[in-house]
Amino acid sequence: MTLVFCRTYLSLLMLINYLPVILIMGFAVLLAVVMVKFSTLFGPQRPNKEKQSTYESGMEPIGSARDRFSVKYYMVAVSFIVFDLEVVFLYPWAISFLNFPPQQMLYSLIIALLFILILVVGLIYEYKKGVLNWD
């Protein structure tokens, strides 16, 4: 019982460090919402059909913007997920690397290099397949 209590207390103590983060986020949200609300407070409100139509260099809008777009953007997003996960997996290794004893350091370096190598092979494959070409 005491142990559970101590644990909860400790985790609360950890969270107290994040209170300023929550406060500043609250401040930012407040300011952003107030500013968005501000937009209709002072300015004139005289909407008409021409004014509210989508801007297209003064011409009548043709079709809708909800249309299909190039598949390249999708490819970039997929590659991003793979490589971003790689970066995320490297963070725990990077932060503990200096604290390894010397004999384990070489081992951990080789493991990390292997991990990076696999992804570099993936990058080269993408490169050869022309996923990264934009012309």
Binding site: N17, Y18, L19, P20, V21, L23, I24, M25, F27, A28, V29, L31, A32, M35, V36, F38, S39, T40, F42, G43, P44, Q45, R46, P47, K51, Q52, S53, T54, Y55, E56, S64, A65, R66, F69, K72, Y73, V76, A77, S79, F80, F83, D84, V87, L90, Y91, A94, I95, F97, L98, P102, M105, L109, A112, L113, I116, L123, Y127, L132, N133, W134
Partner: protein
Amino acid sequence: MPDWSIDIIITLIKIVVVELVLLTGVAYTVYAERRVSAFIQHRYGPNRVGYQGLLQPLADVFKLIMKEDIVPERANKFVHSLAPAISLFVALSTFAVIPFGDKILIAGKEIKLQIADVNIGVLYILALLSLGVYGITLSGWSSNSKYSLLGGLRSSAQMISYELSMGLAVLGLILINSSFRLDTIVMNQYGWKWNIILQPIGFITFLVASFAETNRTPFDLPEAEQELVGGYHTEYSSTKFALFFMAEYAAVIVSSAIITTLYLGGWQFPYLQTFGLPDMAVSIIQVLTFCGKTAFMVFFFIWVRWTIPRFRYDQLMNIGWKVMLPAALTNLILTAIVITIIKLNS
């Protein structure tokens, strides 16, 4: 008064002061940009409102507030208002973990000059920077305009591509500091041991990625005027437009502060402790050092914008994936190997 309530009041004061300085900084960065660009192009720039045009930002704010807020008929109304709010939220709350000074002693109480002293500072910054993509993508999609959509798409692809190199560049720093804490990273840069000297490739990668993340020239494809009118904020007016504008310049200031903290020694003034100044003066000089370095980086952002032309989109993506990513990986591997060699020899 109990101890914790004093702490909360101190935190609130810090937040208000930092945000006020940041917002004033935003207003005067816009002014500085217009004056510096005028200087670079042999023009005068704004010099009529107040002494040397110093009241120009204030006049601009009033003008924008008094404008009509036009929401396009076919736009998604809620998301259209949400997007600028997200952009500003990200820009304002990133400053929470940046240390702008060491410690200051006021009325016998030691106050840390950092809003939130959390042990995941670097991760917090990277997380919020990736949130910034949402503001631009959502604004581009919700306006239901072709220019906005293209701007938003380009921007999201660009930002996620350069985010990779940014994260990888920071990894090199974490390897040598073994900590996510920004104050530890600054502490380790005493004297001239700045990370720009220890991590030159990482610094350049991070700098270029910062330019891309803030959508500044040479990477300002999302709002390339000649082809996309205003890019993602084509359909915005009044305060909502002002929010995007503020968010962009706040992002420039915050990026400068991050670069200063990570690579240029943060608030460290080389060999300040050896001068034998009183504690208070030391603290103030350190805060001023931080502001000075940040201001220099802001000036650098402006300088680059008015000197270098814009990339083509294929060049931009090529640099992101074929130059920046390998460079950041090389930096990481080199750092790890050098650390291992040093450790094994000692």
